[in-house]
């Protein structure tokens, strides 16, 4: 934006709360020392805060946050159970969609496992990581159980019948009623 004119003296008096950055550094310090500063503004407060920020973090908070991340899949389980029970064992679009979603989400979580592990820190990090992994595995197990009760898993011998090869014929026969 256009800078005010170089005659600073008269302009300065008019705008009481304005800080003029076009002045040289020495003049600017002059501004700060006067009562032009807002109420409650302490020019040294910022320095303190910055010091505090580069100090130690609260370990409890870190662990708590990590537990939140680790237990997230476990918290999904009851909701998934309820959704499974509601959708029933028939093969139609809604149950298939629900099962697909239930299967897909833990798999995706397992693929981005390394990234999530980076976010989990703290003293109980190992346990938390195991818990996270276990939660995802349980989620997959639940989805597979749902598939099994819908009859989609090839657990019976009739599912493998299409791959049974015909028996090879070892002897051949011919003949019949004599021709006369």
């Amino acid at each position: 934006m256009s800078a005010p004119s170089q005659t600073s003296g008269s302009r300065f008096k008019k705008h009481k709360w304005a800080l003029d950055y076009t002045l040289k550094k020495a003049d600017r310090q002059l501004q700060l020392q006067t009562e032009h500063l807002p109420v409650g503004y302490c020019s040294t407060a910022l320095a303190q805060v910055q010091d505090a920020h580069t100090g130690t973090r609260d370990p409890n908070l870190v662990v708590k946050k990590s537990w939140d991340i680790a237990l997230a899949p476990m918290k999904q389980l009851p909701m998934n159970l309820f959704i499974m029970w509601m959708s029933g064992n028939s093969i139609s679009i809604f149950p298939i969609m629900m099962v697909g979603m239930m299967l897909f989400r833990p798999f995706k979580a397992l693929f981005t496992l390394q990234n999530t592990f980076k976010m989990i820190e703290g003293s109980q990090a190992i346990i938390q990581r195991m818990v996270y992994f276990l939660g995802n595995v349980l989620g997959i197990g639940l989805a597979l159980y749902k598939c099994q009760s819908m009859g989609l898993l090839p657990t019976h011998s009739s599912d493998w019948l299409a791959f049974v090869q015909p028996q090879q014929r070892l002897e051949y026969s011919g003949g019949g009623i004599p021709l006369s």
């Binding site: 064992n89 049974v164 028996q167 070892l170 002897e171 051949y172 026969s173 004599p178 021709l179």
Partner: protein, 770 residues
């Protein structure tokens, strides 16, 4: 959860119903699109030019297939026809023209009928009750007196031709000693001429008005035998041929009392009279002429009227299966069919199909030589009909069994092996001995002798002195004192079974017992109380093991059998309840397969579980077969030729022995139809709609190139060829698939998406520059 299981079951039932296929009716415009049929009449015995008042260019014929028909004399087309019973009741003995009507004598001389020669409508029918049926009744038409006189073996009677009333019947005199075969009339009297073997010829005079015997005279003739052929000439002269001295004896009743002998050579010219005219079945311009009882020559008349002599009728025909026209015909001179269980057969083999390009396809027909009885093999190209070898191959041995090997030689020909009466094995082509040597180790033969009732199994071996021979290995004696082998049915060689087991309702598998060497034998016999029975044996012909046998008491044949995959379906007549029944057998190994890789009859799986059920058929089945496809994925339908002219197409699911009496949820899951004792014939399952085909001998089914289609050919008196789709036509787009609409919509969408994409890109660019 109960609601969801209900819904689940309902949905499952709906899904299952989609797979229960019932043949649907045809649209009227689809008639004749995939099928053709030809109505035929058979070999003509008698033919008459029609003398009815409206000149109609009609010929009325009676044939050996017990059919009378009227043919258009210009085109040979059938105007009307009546098919009589196939048994001796329906044999047509004589055919006469009476004004506008045609009179037939059938049923051993007992049934006289009068038909309108223009329309074939029956005017009257009269049955002579007192006479016994004879093979060869004689009859004489007297137009002036409007009577027909008929002579059977023990009665002579006269029928009035106006109304069919029997005017008089009389017993022939001395019917025990004299055999009456000829008669002659003059205006008032009827002269019956009978022979007493070795002594004399009797002439009995009977009055034509009353039927009383007036006079009996005897003429001495010591040379006469029962089998002497005599002919009554039109002039009233009786001529008999005595074969030993080659003399012709002639007699002029009633006045004659001596036979006048003449040597044959003098009379030969007079006897060479054309006796009968018969038309061949497929061409209207060929005329068959019967010169002597077993010498049949054919004369063809072409467009310009030239007549050519064609000796003997062709035996092999190549017919286009889409239009029904004969593409080529082939006459194999000197060939005669084999006799097998009373039926004539000319085995036909596919040596090579068209699948091996530079090599032409080859088929072979095996018959026996008319004179010597040795085998005669003709190898020809099925597309053109031309012989592949320079001439017909004459085998110098009598063929007793013939079989085809499963392995093929270097030229992709599957060799045919012949077993002669000395149990030596020969092979065609002769160069295929290396294939035969490999095959000796695991090819076996069997022979079922109907006369002795013994089924013998042979194995092939190579000996130094005799070459390839067959040695007996096992024999099964189906005791010939009480029963007789009537059918031997093996499985088709080119059949492919797609699924090895059957999925049950609880998702487990019941594995099928697929024995490729199982053969079905049926025997019919009579037990001590003269009650007939039918027995079915399932014998493995490699090891001789009788896998299963079933006996039906108080049942009679003929038994029609279909044997395929792991099931057998057969029909029989239940004598006690007087109805036709069909029984279905299915064989299963169990819940596990004993050997998953190979099936060997020498180390067989345990005896299979056989499930059986029988159903009632409210109609008579004349022939039966099953559909067959290349890969065996399509459902199986059983085709039955009915006696009333229809061909019925039944899904095999109706003939499933696991059909439950009280269906449970598991049975419904499996798709089993609940058991009903009767199998009806709804009209939409008759595949020849209103084009009836009569006297069918057999139906042949062949796989088409498409998995969903089977080609059917029914033959006998009539021919019928069509296609059947047991699981609907699942691998072909429907007939009225709208290609035009879909392609237009597709093109429009592609174009619009390209155009809109470009417009959107341009708009975005425009907006970015603002």
């Amino acid at each position: 959860m109960a609601a969801s299981t209900c819904i689940l079951n309902f949905v499952k039932c709906l899904i299952i119903l989609f797979f229960v296929n019932v043949s649907l009716a045809l649209y009227a415009d689809q008639v004749g699109k995939f099928d053709w049929n030809q109505k035929l009449i058979g070999k003509v015995k008698y033919a008459l030019f029609d003398h009815s008042t409206h000149s109609s260019k009609r010929i009325v014929v009676a044939t050996e297939e017990n059919v009378i028909a009227a043919l258009n004399s210009k085109t040979g087309a059938i105007l009307w026809r009546h098919v009589f019973e196939k048994t001796s009741v329906g044999i047509v003995h004589a055919l006469y023209n009476v004004g506008n009507d045609v009179v037939t004598l059938t049923g051993g001389g007992n049934i006289i009928r009068s038909w309108n020669s223009a329309t074939g409508v029956l005017h009257w029918e009269s049955v002579a009750s007192k006479s016994t049926a004879t093979d060869n009744p004689q009859s004489l038409l007297m137009l002036e007196k409007k009577t027909l006189v008929v002579l059977t073996s023990d009665t002579v009677f006269a029928v009035g031709l106006a109304t069919g009333k029997i005017k008089w019947t009389a017993e022939v005199p001395n019917k025990d000693t004299v055999v009456y075969k000829h008669f002659y009339t003059d205006l008032d009297n009827l002269y019956l001429i009978g022979t007493v073997e070795g002594s004399h010829v009797t002439i009995a005079t009977i009055s034509l008005e009353t039927g009383k015997v007036k006079l009996q005279t005897q003429v001495p003739a010591s040379w006469v035998l029962l089998s002497t052929t005599c002919k009554m000439l039109q002039s009233g002269r009786l001529i008999c041929f005595e074969p030993r001295m080659k003399y012709l004896y002639s007699l002029q009743p009633p006045s004659g009392d001596q036979f006048v002998p003449t040597a044959l050579s003098d009379v030969m010219g007079q006897l060479m009279v054309i006796k009968d005219v018969s038309f061949t079945d497929l061409h209207a311009d060929s005329v068959g002429v019967q010169v002597a009882p077993d010498h049949h020559i054919v004369i063809t008349v072409d467009a310009s009227g030239q007549a050519k002599l064609v000796k003997d009728l062709p035996q092999v025909f190549g017919i286009d299966n889409l239009s029904g026209e004969v593409i080529w015909q082939k006459l194999i001179p000197g060939i005669v069919p084999f006799q097998q269980l009373g039926k004539e057969t000319l085995p036909l083999f596919v040596l090579r199909t068209t699948a091996h390009f530079p090599h032409p396809p080859e088929y072979a027909v095996l018959g026996k030589h008319k004179a010597t009885g040795n085998g005669l093999l003709d190898v020809f190209n099925p597309i053109t009909g031309r012989c592949m070898t320079r001439e017909v191959i004459q085998l110098n041995y009598r063929v007793q069994h013939v079989s085809q090997l499963a392995q093929h030689d270097a030229d992709f020909v599957r060799p045919v092996i012949f077993v002669d009466t000395n149990k030596l094995i020969h092979v065609y082509p002769e160069t295929a001995t290396d294939v035969l040597m490999e095959a000796v180790a695991h090819n076996y033969l069997f022979s079922a002798d109907a006369d002795t009732g013994v089924v013998t199994g042979y194995r092939m071996s190579l000996t130094a002195e005799k070459g390839f021979t067959s040695e007996p290995v096992w024999s099964v004696i189906l005791s010939k004192d009480t029963q007789r082998i009537t059918n031997v049915v093996a499985k088709r060689q080119n059949e492919h079974v797609h699924s090895q087991g059957r999925v049950l309702g609880d998702r487990s598998v019941l594995y099928k017992y697929l024995n490729p060497n199982l053969v079905v034998f049926t025997t019919e016999g009579q037990d001590d109380q003269e009650k007939s029975y039918v027995t079915l044996y399932l014998i493995d012909v490699i090891s001789g093991q009788v896998v299963f046998s079933a006996n039906h008491q108080r049942a009679k044949g003929p038994v029609n059998i279909v044997h395929s995959e792991n099931w057998v379906v057969y029909t029989y007549w239940n004598q006690r309840l007087r109805r036709h029944e069909v029984a279905a057998l299915e064989m299963y190994e169990g819940r596990t397969q004993s050997n998953t890789t190979a099936f060997s009859s020498l180390a067989p799986p345990p005896t299979p579980i056989v499930e059986r059920q029988a159903y009632i058929l409210p109609y008579t089945v004349v022939a039966m077969t099953t559909t067959i496809t290349e890969k065996g994925i399509t459902n199986r339908h059983i085709l039955l030729a009915l006696a009333d002219g229809g061909i019925l197409d039944l899904p095999k699911a109706l003939l499933d022995p696991r059909r439950p009496n009280t269906p449970t949820a598991e049975h419904r899951e499996e798709g089993l139809i609940p058991y009903m004792p009767e199998i009806g014939a709804p009209k939409e399952m008759i595949i020849n709609y209103n084009r009836s085909v009569f006297n069918i001998d057999a139906i042949y089914s062949a796989p088409a190139g498409l998995e969903s289609t089977t080609l059917i050919f029914a033959y006998g008196l009539d021919l019928f060829c069509t296609r059947v789709w047991p699981s609907k036509m699942f691998d072909v787009l429907k007939d009225d698939f709208d290609y035009w609409l879909i392609s237009v919509v597709l093109t429009a969408l592609i174009l619009s998406s390209i155009i809109l994409q470009k417009m959107a890109a341009r708009k975005q660019l425009h907006a970015a520059w603002k």
